[in-house]
């Protein structure tokens, strides 16, 4: 459900702060070191980082390909290796039997079993490719506005953290309170009333 999908989801943010000029170079400098790294060939279970909108599996930000009109368009990619618990059980049982046979013992200690399980998970993590999830974002720098094309909690949290790390800019989610703060246009008296509001009851 990306930016150009027929059906999409959207979370709105306000971007607090400004980048150094030239802005395009600052965005590139933020994206480049925080580009997602491939974890298929290593033991990491998770990875998250920026990727390009057009080629999310060959991340590159060369040629300012993240600039379209007045917008910056790129994506957050979150890769995760998920090993089904039954697969872990199966390979643990195989390795357990091998170890007993090799040592001539009848059982392993609790600590040995724990280490064996970690070993099995490491081996499987190397063999299983990561599942990628891609979430597009459109950043209107001039308007201090950013649209993130998902409502899922984890990607939103990852976005907020990675954005701050990459650009040193804070993202503030727009919901009823923040919408009122930033765009309500209330007078001081109206704002005072707003702050002290209590829920209305429509009950008869």
């Amino acid at each position: 459900m990306g930016f150009l999908s027929a059906t999409t989801s959207l979370t709105r943010y306000r971007v607090e702060g400004k980048l150094e000029d030239p802005v395009v170079d600052s965005v590139y400098s933020g994206l480049r070191p925080n580009t997602i790294s491939d974890i298929d060939e290593n033991v990491s279970e998770n990875a998250a980082g920026w990727t390009s909108f057009r080629e999310p599996f060959v991340p590159s930000f060369e040629g300012s390909n993240f600039c379209i009109g007045n917008y910056f368009l790129f994506s957050l990619r979150m890769d995760r290796k998920t090993i089904p618990s039954k697969v872990i059980q199966k390979y643990f049982a195989i390795e357990y039997a091998k170890k007993l046979k090799a040592s001539g013992r009848e059982f392993l200690s609790k600590n040995e079993k724990k280490m064996l399980k970690e070993h099995v998970i490491s081996l499987l993590t190397l063999r299983i490719p990561a599942t990628p999830n891609i979430y597009d974002l459109l950043w209107s720098y001039e308007d201090d506005s950013l649209w993130f094309f998902t409502n899922l909690k984890k990607p939103c949290e990852e976005l907020e953290t990675l954005f701050l790390t990459s650009f040193n800019l804070k993202l503030i989610r727009l919901f009823p309170y923040t919408m009122t703060e930033f765009f309500g246009g209330l007078t001081a008296d109206e704002y005072e009333t707003f702050i002290n509001l209590a829920p209305t009851t429509l009950m008869e």
Partner: protein, 175 residues
């Protein structure tokens, strides 16, 4: 400015009241949905409305679904103190149509269908499609902002308690 997490929970009712106001305006007073420029298009109820009642010990929830939903149960729920927590809306402007679900507490938008765009066949087409999609989303979100602005000014005014609430009570009590 308050702590964001505290403010999110403290003022989530504002979002529910906004959606309830929207539903009332759609059903009873569409003039409330016009932007100052007068070209705001039209808003109608889509295929889903969720109400929750927080006035009792346990939260009660009612979901009405369907292409032409019968909202009698929703009105009854409103009468018993529930508020709209999620609503699917159809926005029409200049023969174009957007459909989306808006959640009250977070203002997150789901199931968003924008008007049809031109086909994307080449790399150059992608850039055009991005700008077109951004424009389409901008139109919808600007309209949402205008509506919320109207609502929040009404909500902090005396008119809310003196006029709006009695009108809603009349609406839900009407046979």
């Amino acid at each position: 400015m308050l702590d964001i997490a505290v403010a999110y929970n403290r003022y989530r009712f504002i979002g529910y009241e906004f959606l309830t106001w929207l539903w009332f305006a759609i059903e009873r007073n569409p003039t409330l949905l016009q932007s100052p420029s007068g070209d705001s298009g039209s808003l109608s109820l889509g295929n889903r409305i969720v109400l929750e009642n927080f006035t009792r010990d346990k939260t009660e929830s009612i979901t009405i679904k369907g292409d032409d939903p019968n909202v009698d149960a929703a009105l009854l729920s409103l009468k018993n103190g529930a508020l709209v927590t999620e609503i699917n809306l159809v926005f029409k402007l200049n023969e174009q149509e957007w459909q989306f679900t808006l959640k009250g507490e977070s203002f997150s938008i789901t199931n968003l269908k924008t008007p049809q765009r031109g086909p994307v066949e080449t790399l150059e087409d992608t850039e055009g499609a991005v700008l077109e999609q951004a424009f389409l989303l901008e139109q919808l979100l600007q309209y949402q902002d205008v509506l919320f602005n109207s609502f929040i000014h009404l909500r902090v005014s005396k008119e809310w308690g003196q006029t709006f609430i009695p009108e809603v009570k009349n609406w839900v009590s009407a046979p």
